[in-house]
Amino acid sequence: MLKRLNNQEGVAAALFLAPSVAGFALFFFVPFLIGCYYSLLDSPVDGSFVGLRNYGDLLRNEVFHRAAWNTFRFTAVSVPLNMLLSLGLAMLLNRNAYFRSWLRISFLFPLVIPVASVVLIWRIVFDANGTLNGLLHAWGWIPRDWMESGYSPAVVVVVYLWKNVGYNMVLFLAGLQNIPAEYYEAAAIDGAGKFRQWRSITLVYLMPTTFFVFIISILNSFKVFRETYLIAGEYPHEDIYMMQHYMNNMFRSLDYQKLTSAAFLMALAITVLVWTLFRAERRLARSIGG
């Protein structure tokens, strides 16, 4: 009886999933498998099988090293920074402030502003003869060529944070508002200080939200490529040359071997990251009984 019920549910699930899975397979999964196959050939047209040679070439390629390292470094710096800032903002906004809804909408605004609109402003601000340098000059500090120097990653981080802090803040705000006030009251009666309350209640109960925020932040950290591309073009300063620049340029120069093997390696890295995250989440969910 139970088995039949499960079966029935499985059939229903299959029907509900059919459109999505079919399209997903055709436009993402199958292309990905084809890509993996191409990465083992020496040419996409009438190529012969060369095993892992493309990967060997790729791993010895210096430009690839740079792109992979830059992407890793950018994600490793900007995602935690984004989470810290948005949590801080959410905690401030969760207190009693004037004009709360207007403040909230202001922080969310950058998310909805089209990239192409705001890129102009970024160019004006960060150009070597731009506004920021004008200000620095006026105050007697040394101007720098922001987009064409080792400072360029910092600019990209600023652009990313500006755009994405609002989204995370809204998520954290919901998480904070979902923690019952009684928990804090009970902890205060037991003599827990403010910091102790924050550590043992706020942080613990925000954990599920944090996982979600983490995934969204990574997703959006890859999207900042658009801004970088529109500000600095196909070949930006070497410190902000990301994996997407690399793959884009390989596409343009018709080097499909490098592109498909780089794509596979990037997919592998993302898979490992998400896998670890899912595992950690499950373990944590068990430990706090959520």
Partner: protein, 290 residues
């Protein structure tokens, strides 16, 4: 007193967030001549040999907030004298709307299966969706291109719309959202003789309205912004959406770029002001639990 201080700090931050948007608006009211003169240091020809000597008396781009004389001449140029602009605007609409409608339809069905039905490959399949969602566009670029070619979709909007409809983000967001709908609702409906499709249409879908609204807004933002896909899949310059056109204007015709930017971001800002509550509610409910 503390409340005032907190509000003041948050207000300063909020101003920083809104600043680039406000600047675009004010710049759009200046005459083309004013813009060209004002932006000369940034767009100037000598920028290649710019020195960073702080003592050199160089001209920096001054940030003039307010136009010397407000005029609508940029708008006149963009909206009346350049029919191409409005043409591109519609291209953007034709690309964006089908993706939003399609992805909501496909992913609400799949989200229901992932959140309300139990079946065997549920966890691994969902994992696959999350991984795919995080992949940058470039990862499946070559095979996607080949598939579009095989299906005869190249140089048509379908090459962009179909992959957009089956994007994994909608499934992810709606699954998160629908997880909060208790199983018991569905069970009660089935006891009353409702089939699964009825349960989905009459109970789950209405309860998911905030999530769907948030998804619609987020998809609108994302697709209104697309740059990479049209550049790759559309050869015909007349088919390009506004996002691509605008990045070209930014290069050559700075004088009207701000008005063009403003017209471009107007729909998104209006949508935001109108539906901010839905957006916030939808984002929040999707992220409370992992």
């Amino acid at each position: 007193m503390r409340k005032a201080l907190l509000s003041a700090v948050l207000a300063v931050l909020a101003v920083l967030f809104v600043f680039p948007i406000a600047l675009t608006l004010t710049q759009s009211l200046r005459s083309e001549h004013e813009i060209t003169v004002n932006l000369a240091p940034v767009s100037g020809a000598e920028s290649s040999e710019s020195t960073l000597d702080p003592r050199a008396d160089k001209e920096y781009m001054a940030l003039n907030w307010v136009p010397d004389r407000a005029t609508l001449s940029q708008y006149y140029e963009v909206l009346v004298k350049q029919p191409r602009f409005l043409f591109m605007f519609w291209n953007s609409v034709f690309l964006t709307v089908p993706v939003i409608v399609g992805q909501i339809a496909v992913s609400s069905l799949a989200g229901y299966a992932f959140s309300q039905l139990r079946f065997r490959w549920r966890e691994p399949l969902f994992f696959l969706y999350v991984v795919t969602m995080l992949m940058p566009f470039q990862v499946t670029l070559v095979p996607n291109f080949i598939i579009a070619d095989r299906l005869g979709l190249l140089d048509s909007y379908s090459a962009i719309i179909f992959p957009g409809v089956f994007g994994a983000f909608g499934v992810f967001l709606l699954r998160q959202f629908m997880t909060y709908i208790p199983y018991s609702y569905g069970e009660a409906a089935r006891v009353d003789g409702c089939g699964r499709l009825q349960t989905f249409l009459r109970i789950v879908l209405p309860l998911s309205k905030p999530g769907i609204a948030a998804l619609a807004i987020l998809l609108f933002i994302d697709n209104w912004n697309m740059v990479e896909q049209p550049l790759i899949f559309l050869q015909d310059a007349n088919k390009q959406p506004l996002s691509v056109y605008l990045s070209i204007i930014g290069e050559g015709e700075l004088g009207i770029a701000f008005a063009a930017s403003t017209v471009y971001m107007a729909p998104v800002i209006l949508l935001m002001l109108y539906a901010e509550n839905h957006l916030v509610e939808g984002i929040q409910l999707s992220g409370i639990k992992g």
